[in-house]
């Protein structure tokens, strides 16, 4: 990476404004051939806008894009791809009813006469790319029938249809298992070795420190600095991102646990989870850790009345209960903050206040009417308590940042005064600053005497918030750890299905 070398891609003074917002404010950025350059910033810092400018989806108002020394103008994704700039989207953007091959070459299917698709060429080329990615499925398969991870591979395969100069990965690991991550990192290293410049966007610090050569940080649409990864600590990066230092330590009073609030005995739902037993006490956070598909979310859904267990018992506060619906669960004091906040947590076009009071709207009435005052009182209380940033309760939930949306959902369930609070993936897709606030909040809730279950796929998260960790593998509980006894190694072993000595 000598300074004499020509950058694969260079951005100079990029400005992009939207009505009322200056989304990018003079951003400089470069990536060298054979370099992995991580791009960091909180949600709303301008990363996505920058990526869309790079991928030809937005036109910058000011500034220059220089590729291999030549200033270029890219007005469509196809033009960007022709220049060798390829974006791999964060959210899967595949067409489910089409084959993997068609998806890989979407928008540029090889053509024969009369606009016919040249299937032979298409499938040959696609299979070659999948082979290069060490994928075990054929390109003729319909995408709808592939696993999420394989779908992600199809997404990545798209980048390899051209001789890419620059490949942009936008949160590529969000839905991948650890094993699949290893394959992905191999691919990135392979691309790197071929002299491709990589732009890597992620919220996960560990990945960034494993992969990247340099780190550039954006904040509020502006460039905040570039760091050499080898000479940097996580703390430096975080400070640059949020403008202050993050406190990651757990310096609270030693927790005091009360009575057993929730007890699950031999709960079984064939094909999803088997023979699951555990307890949660008041004042305690129990973390459920495991790979995607290990059955954690399904247990939560069963406890919330969304699934019917084949056998087993659920006891709330010592009483055996039959939970037939979410309404029943709510009546028993169980709350669930679901995994997917946009699809399961919020009615996006509804305003913040109405979203928050939705589960108890029936109880907030004065006569036949909903009491405006009672609703607003709840909203104000939880907006202050959770530090939700919104100009007004009238704001529709859809326009808030991910972190604030998640706080609305948490507020919605806290306001129900639950006896058991289940939080599934509390910080997925949320920036570092909000993440830490939510972790803090979960600890506080425990301290206030709530019985809390946290489901997470992120090891630092479970380690940080839990008092006890339940490790799951393939629908079964492999081991339970007290937080004091757990080590990263034993935890990884437990969730990978490696047998070890039982905990006493």
């Amino acid at each position: 990476m000598s300074s004499t070398q020509e950058a694969a891609l260079r951005l100079q003074g990029i400005v992009k404004t939207f009505p009322g917002v200056r989304a990018l404010d003079g951003v400089d950025f470069e990536v060298m051939p054979g370099e992995v350059h991580a791009l960091l910033g909180e949600n709303g810092a301008g990363k996505s806008t920058l990526m869309k400018v790079l991928a030809g989806m937005y036109q910058p108002d000011e500034g220059q894009i220089i590729i291999a020394g030549q200033p270029v103008r890219m007005t469509t994704p196809i033009e960007a791809k022709a220049q060798g700039v390829v974006l791999i989207h964060q959210e899967l953007s595949l067409v489910p009813e089409m084959s993997a091959a068609e998806n890989i070459y979407l928008g540029e299917l090889p053509v024969k006469s009369f606009g016919r698709v040249d299937w032979k060429t298409l499938e040959e080329r696609s299979n070659a790319i999948l082979k290069r990615l060490k994928c075990s499925f054929r390109a003729e398969m319909t995408v709808a029938r592939l696993s999420i991870a394989n779908q992600q591979m199809v997404e990545i395969a798209r980048a390899l249809t051209v001789e890419a100069r620059v490949v942009i990965f936008d949160e590529p690991t969000a839905s991948l298992t650890d094993a699949e991550k290893v394959v992905l990192f191999d691919i990135i290293n392979d691309l790197k070795a071929r002299g491709v410049g990589i732009i890597y966007i992620s919220h996960r610090m560990d990945e960034i420190f494993t992969l990247s050569d340099r780190i550039t940080v954006l904040r509020d649409g502006a460039y905040r600095g570039t760091l050499i990864t080898a000479d940097t600590t996580e703390d430096d990066v975080t400070r640059l991102m949020i403008g202050r230092s993050l406190d990651l330590s757990r310096d609270e009073e030693p927790p005091s646990f009360g009575k057993t609030m929730l007890e699950v005995r031999n709960l079984t739902c064939p094909g999803l989870f088997e023979d699951v037993s555990f307890t949660v006490r008041t004042g305690e956070v129990v973390g459920f850790y495991g790979l995607v598909g290990a059955g954690r979310t399904e247990i939560a859904e069963t406890l919330f009345g969304l699934r019917k267990a084949a056998s087993g018992e659920i006891l709330v506060d010592g009483e055996a209960v039959d939970i037939v619906s979410p309404r029943a669960a709510i009546a028993m004091g169980i709350s669930l903050v679901p995994e997917n906040r946009k699809e399961q947590g919020l009615v996006l076009q509804m305003n913040c206040r109405d979203n928050m009071t939705l589960p108890q709207i029936q109880d907030l009435t004065a006569g036949p009417f909903v009491s405006h005052g009672a609703e607003l009182a709840i909203f104000d209380q939880y907006r202050d308590r959770l530090a939700i940033k919104t100009p007004s309760w009238r704001q529709s939930a859809g326009v808030l940042s991910g972190g604030n949306q998640q706080k609305i959902v948490i507020g919605k369930w806290l306001s129900m005064q639950p006896r058991v609070l289940i939080v599934d993936e509390p910080t997925r897709g949320i920036d570092v600053g909000s993440k830490s606030e939510i972790h803090q909040l979960l600890r506080e809730l425990a301290a206030q005497g709530y019985a809390v279950i946290v489901i997470s796929s992120e090891m630092p998260e479970v380690l940080r918030v839990s008092d006890r960790i339940v490790a799951m593998y393939h629908g079964r509980i492999m081991r339970e750890f007290e937080i004091a006894d757990v080590t990263e190694d034993t935890l990884v072993q437990a969730i990978s299905g490696i047998k070890s000595e039982k905990t006493p």
């Binding site: 953007s93 595949l94 067409v95 089409m98 979407l106 299917l109 709808a144 859904e301 969304l306 619906s325």
Partner: protein, 329 residues
């Protein structure tokens, strides 16, 4: 037949339940209606279904795109009016039987134009196609009345209506045109880039935009295709009548949508095919024909067809939707 073949036929029927239904009613009417199982009756069924069938092909494209077109009945009437009226224009008076040619061309162009207008509005305004074409359904019908002045047009040249009585080999020419359209649109949808992009735009519009597919012009093209097919259907219908009436094609949009949905195309887009639509069209055609032959009173036909539509939807939901993982939503 080998066992393997049996299984694949079964599996094919499972994926295309409408053809199982077509088979069922075919056997039923063959056994219970006297004149049903007869080669000439099969010809009739094909001719009778061609009107709705040809439009249904276009509707399949538009619905896979995630749109809908409620204005096809009115477009059909407008095209029929042009096809019949232009023949009598003074400009073509000396053309003899060739006066039919410009008439048909103009009628088809009018259909394409109506489709283009719908498509353009859907693209540029971003208003839902259901609303745009609901408006167009009223508006184009208004154009028909403005153009015809409320009365029927008729073709003075019997050569025009003789066309519909022609046969090509063993099949009536209308049936041949219909089958030809089925094959061409099937080929278009399954083999060409435009056809594949139709699935992409309907299945995941964002992905299609990101992949550089120009979604707007793409949708306009599909609206033009359905406009063309509705006009073609109108021209063929007017050859059967030797005339065009301003009320022609009322409620056809509902029948067309019924046929397409019976054929397994999803209203949400991204899914469906011509084989299914063809089955859906035949199902309606056979039921109507068979019930006519069995003299089922018209009042009961309404109840039966409505109930079958709902029943098919119910069965499709039971057997053909992807497993939602047992979540009680």
């Amino acid at each position: 037949m080998s066992r393997l073949n049996d299984i694949s036929v079964l599996r094919w029927l499972m994926r295309n339940p409408i053809w199982g239904f077509v088979l069922l009613i075919f056997v039923f009417f063959s056994l219970s209606a006297d004149n049903f199982f007869d080669y000439r009756n099969f010809q009739n069924i094909l001719v009778q279904t061609s009107t709705i069938g040809i439009i249904a092909l276009g509707m399949t494209l538009v619905m896979i795109n995630g749109n809908i077109d409620l204005s096809v009945g009115a477009t059909l009437a407008l095209a029929a009016a042009f096809a019949v009226d232009v023949q009598s224009w003074a400009a073509f008076a000396t053309w003899g039987n060739w006066q039919i040619l410009p008439a048909v061309c103009i009628a088809l162009l009018v259909g394409i134009l109506m489709g283009a207008i719908n498509g353009f509005i859907v693209w540029k305004t971003g208003v839902d196609a259901f609303i745009v074409t609901l408006g167009a359904m009223l508006g184009i019908r208004g154009l028909v009345f403005v153009y015809t002045g409320e009365s029927s047009f008729f073709a003075t040249n019997f050569a025009y209506s003789d066309f519909s009585a022609l046969s090509l080999g063993p099949l009536p020419v209308l049936a041949v045109i219909f089958l030809l359209c089925v094959m061409v649109v099937h080929w278009l949808l399954s083999r060409t880039v435009h056809g594949r992009n139709t699935y992409a735009v309907g299945g995941n519009r964002e992905a299609a935009v990101n992949a550089g597919i120009r979604v707007g012009p793409h949708m306009i093209l599909n609206f033009m295709i359905i406009g063309f097919l509705a006009a073609l259907s109108g021209v063929l219908l007017s050859t059967q009548m030797g005339a065009a009436t301003p009320n022609l094609g009322r409620d056809y949009e509902l029948w067309v949508i019924t046929a397409v949905v019976l054929g397994g195309t999803k209203l949400t887009g991204g899914k469906g095919d011509i084989i299914g639509t063809f089955g859906g069209v035949l199902a309606i055609g056979i039921m109507r024909n068979g019930m006519n032959l069995m003299q089922v009173p018209a009042f009961y036909v309404l109840v039966i067809i409505g109930a079958i539509l709902i029943a098919v939807l119910f069965l499709d939901k039971r057997f053909n939707t992807s497993n939602d993982g047992g979540l009680r939503l």
